[in-house]
């Protein structure tokens, strides 16, 4: 926080030597300048020069197939923006994966087969759908355990009240 005013000051003195202005205006202009510089400076984005794949952002003509594709794409995890599904992600690789999913569904492949194909390559990591693997057991057991704990608490409460 402290570094910013001094940077402002440095910019302001540079400008005031050429054209003296009222303090407020000077600061306002520098803010605009900094904002402009930030807007122009493009981050080092690793994006290609090629357009998105054909089916990346296009719906399949058959609504039933598009529905299947959508359901599967919501369930597949983007390998670039980990935490988004490929349906949500703007990453190019996610677009290419959507293209792959739509193409295969249009060709008559079952969503479960496409998911299995991807799991073979990236592991169950790629799918948001919880599996039955041992690592996921706590996920399945937690609700049951919490229910049991809750039932015990309620039972104790009731017995205490009866006694009271």
């Amino acid at each position: 926080m402290r570094a910013f005013p001094s940077l402002r000051g440095a910019l302001a003195t540079k400008q005031s030597s050429s054209a003296p202005r009222s303090g407020l205006l000077r600061y306002a202009r520098n803010d605009v300048l900094v904002a402009l510089m930030l807007a122009i400076a493009s981050p080092l984005l690793a994006d290609s020069n090629l357009p998105p794949a054909y089916w990346a952002n296009r719906q399949l003509p058959d609504p039933k197939q598009e529905g299947q594709a959508q359901a599967l794409m919501q369930e597949l995890r983007c390998v670039v923006c980990q935490g988004q599904s490929i349906a949500d992600s703007d990453a190019e690789l996610a677009g290419d994966m959507r293209d792959l999913v739509r193409r295969r569904i249009a060709a008559g492949e079952k969503p479960s087969a496409i998911r299995a194909w991807l799991v073979q390559r990236y592991g169950s990591w790629i799918s948001y759908k919880p599996t039955g693997e041992p690592a996921a057991w706590p996920l399945w057991l937690a609700p049951l355990a919490l229910l049991v704990v809750g039932a015990l608490l309620v039972r104790r409460r009731i017995s205490l009240r009866r006694r009271g």
């Binding site: 690793a46 994006d47 020069n49 090629l50 190019e92 690789l93 290419d96 390559r121």
Partner: protein, 175 residues
Amino acid sequence: MNRLVRFVPLVLLLVVIAGLVWRLATPVDTNVTSKLEGKPVPAFDLGPAIAAKPALSSRDLATGRPRIVNIFASWCVPCISEVKVLEQLKARGAAIDGIAVRDRPEDVAQFLARYGDPYERIGSDEQSRVQIALGSSGVPESFIVDRRGIIRYQHVGAIEPADVPMILDKLEQAR
């Protein structure tokens, strides 16, 4: 019994703190790795990335000697420094093929002319299909394929100069 129960929240707090400290000290590895190590290279047949160089198909990878398949792109910044390291590897006897992801011939040609060209063959993967088929999640990435076309090792990210002995060792093991 009741006296001990009083300490339960404290113990839980300590467990949570221990967990946080542990995760801060050893962060989670967010690299997505391919599950194809130990399996044959999936069948593919890519067109040439530039006219002057032969194209790449999965058949070109089972040639009786281990090979490095480097997934790169002209628009990928770390690939620029990696190409120098790949040239070192080539000078020390490694056979290297490339897969150019989402690239145009003129861009690939310019990249090779400017930064170096260690590749025997380069296939053009315009829609990342072979990249996805290999279980790769970005550029650069490299796969070491043994003489029978089985994937033996995946390197996520650029191969750094310090990785050269390790890569040569992996190639030797894949023989």
